[in-house]
């Protein structure tokens, strides 16, 4: 209230009435920068990624992602503890990703509906589509957020395991380098899993506006073809057995793991490139379905 203490003899700026300042509370035009479409898409991606982990939302929305984060971190901490105590690597980076497969599927079944069904259900999409971003921008931002959220669920604990591993390893610089390449391999496998499963789950969620139904649809989508894999495995010849895992997104990724990292989780014979091709096709078709879905949705 400097205006009041200026005293009666003080000189007041022109236009100000004695006794105080009249604040202009009228409408102000915006003259600052307006960001382009790419920055808008980036903002939507960031917002969706935060939403997936319940950030900026109610406490209730943080519970489930929180449990899975704690679970992942706990597994990593135990793995590091065992390694520092015994010197044995009980859970390596690839095995960690495999260990997290059920939690990751649950995570996708919850966050994919969270990211798309809420907007469909509350019919808020016309408010998005009347803004600079396009329908495909919206769909791709949501897809990127789903894949990133899934990847981060695995990448965080993997990083913890790396830090623990670097302290635990005894091979000097060479050992450290070895540790880092192992970690990068695990990170790549985590990315592969997140991309294939996430891309498969999101269009399934976008089919319905009800989150609970979407979660069930995703769960069914992941398990519905497991009997096919099972039957082919037990009854088919060598070739059928080696190709059986193509039929399900979960076994498809294990098949890829077996080929890329030369592990013995599955016998896929020489069909590695076929697994890669099918995985790429699955991601492409899923993305196309998602884009098609948002082209049809009412604005």
């Amino acid at each position: 209230m400097a205006e009041l203490t200026a005293g009666a003899g003080g000189v007041r700026p022109a236009g100000r009435t004695p006794g105080g300042v009249i604040h202009d509370i009228g409408y102000q035009r915006y003259t600052g920068p307006r960001l382009g479409r790419s920055r808008v898409v980036l903002a939507l991606f960031g917002h969706s990624l935060r939403t997936a982990y319940g950030l900026g939302r109610t406490a209730k929305a943080k519970v489930f992602p929180g449990i899975l984060v704690v679970l992942g971190v706990a597994i990593a901490v135990v793995a590091v503890a065992i390694r520092t105590q015994t010197g044995e690597v009980e859970v390596n980076y690839l095995q960690f990703v495999d260990t997290m497969s059920v939690p990751l599927l649950l995570f996708l079944a919850v966050i994919a509906p969270e990211l798309v069904c809420r907007d469909l259900r509350s019919r808020v999409l016309p408010l998005y589509f009347s803004r600079p971003l396009r329908r495909s921008d919206y769909a791709l931002a949501k897809l990127a957020a789903t894949l990133s959220a899934a990847f981060l669920l695995l990448a965080g604990p993997l990083l913890l395991m790396l830090l623990g591993g670097l302290f635990a390893q005894t091979g000097g610089a060479h050992g450290a380098w070895h540790e880092i390449t192992d970690f990068l391999g695990g990170l790549g496998y985590a990315a592969l899993t997140a991309i294939v499963w996430g891309a498969f789950a999101l269009p399934l969620a976008a089919l319905t506006s009800r989150r609970a139904i979407a979660a069930v649809v995703i769960a069914i989508g992941f398990v519905v073809t497991t009997p096919v894999v099972g039957v082919l495995m037990s009854l088919g010849g060598t070739t059928a057995r080696q190709l059986a895992s193509l039929a399900n997104p979960v076994s498809l990724v294990s098949g890829l793991e077996a080929w890329i990292y030369r592990t013995d989780v599955q016998d896929i014979g020489g069909f590695g490139p076929v697994y890669l091709l099918v995985a790429v096709a699955l991601v492409a078709v899923s993305t196309a379905v998602l884009l098609l879905r948002y082209r049809k949705v009412a604005a």
Binding site: G26, Q28, R29, Y30, L35, S122, S130, R131, P132
Partner: protein, 305 residues
């Protein structure tokens, strides 16, 4: 520069022609877009936003073509759709901030302007509550705030008073009038209720079956004025002569006398005349001299008020 220019604008759906050779120029200001349900109002708005493609004709919005510059138009236009609803579990301030960012505002600016927009629509105190707990009127205000958050040059409001009670309608119309006059933002208000928009609009476009019925400034269609309706049980002619004698431009419509309302003194003059002639006054009330007569032939629904 005209706000909106259309020339022979046509849009056909498989079974109906929504816009049929519509040609109209719209000057900045508050513009009413009236027509019965299904007249083509929402279709016109969606074409203006570049969300629908036209089949024929030309269209410019803010000097740009929605078919090629849809993105640039949508950055400078605020849209309040007819059937939009809002995420119930989001906090109003968060939601409007998010929508500001979706319009290209940087984070801090979006936050600041969201608070401002919610203040202007009268939800400042309630802005940190979840939208699910809001009344219908408050939700409509949030929808208006999200259309206003990025400081558009043009607001497109599709039936903004739908589902509101009479008090809510009044408040919403008052708000729209303020936006158009004090904020300096042009507004296109769609409504099937002529009586509702004529009060706040400076010009009016009436469409029917996708065709232009009439487009003009309201002042050139009719003087916006109120009339007093006087009805006496007997002696109507006597009163008419008496009021003529006072120099009032009285018109007779059946048993009613219509007196243009000049101010409170008009009331006093009539009351004095009725008292002087000792006539049994049946009624004396104020009526808005509306535009409805101008569209009497058109299949418009008349206003409830």
């Amino acid at each position: 520069m005209p706000l909106i220019e259309t020339h022979s604008l046509t849009k056909r759906y498989p079974r109906v022609t929504a816009l049929d050779g519509l040609t109209v120029d719209v000057e900045p200001g508050i513009v009413g877009l009236v027509g019965a349900n299904g007249a083509g109002k929402s279709t016109l708005i969606k074409i203006m936003l570049g969300l629908l493609d036209r089949d024929a004709g030309d269209l410019r919005v803010l000097g740009m073509d929605p078919a090629t510059d849809g993105e640039a138009i949508r950055a400078r236009v605020g849209y309040m759709p007819e059937h939009a609803s809002l995420p119930p579990d989001m906090i109003a301030a968060e939601f409007v901030t998010h929508m500001g960012r979706m319009s290209g505002l940087p984070k801090a600016a979006a936050r600041e302007r969201a608070s401002e927009a919610l203040r202007h629509v009268g939800l400042y105190e309630e802005r940190y509550r979840q939208i699910g707990g809001y009344s219908t009127g408050m939700k409509q205000r949030v929808t208006l705030a999200q259309a206003l958050v990025h400081d558009p040059d043009l607001l497109l409001l599709d039936e903004p008073t739908n589902g509101l009670d009479p008090a809510g309608r009044e408040a919403m119309l008052g708000l729209i009038e303020r936006i158009g006059t004090e904020f300096g933002i042009s507004v296109v208000v769609c409504s099937h209720l002529l009586g509702e928009v004529e009060r706040i609009c400076e010009s009016l476009i009436a469409i029917d079956s996708g065709k232009l019925l009439r487009a003009d400034r309201i002042s050139s269609m009719t003087r916006r004025r109120d009339v007093l309706v006087v009805e006496v049980d007997e002696g109507t002619d006597q009163l008419l002569d008496h009021l003529h004698g006072l120099g009032l431009p009285v018109e007779r419509a059946g048993p009613e006398l219509l007196v243009p309302l000049a101010g409170d003194e008009t009331f006093d003059q009539i009351m004095a005349a009725v008292a002087a002639l000792d006539l049994p006054l049946h009624r004396l009330d104020q009526r808005r001299h509306g535009l409805a007569e101008l569209f009497a032939d058109a299949p418009l629904e008349s206003s409830h008020g």
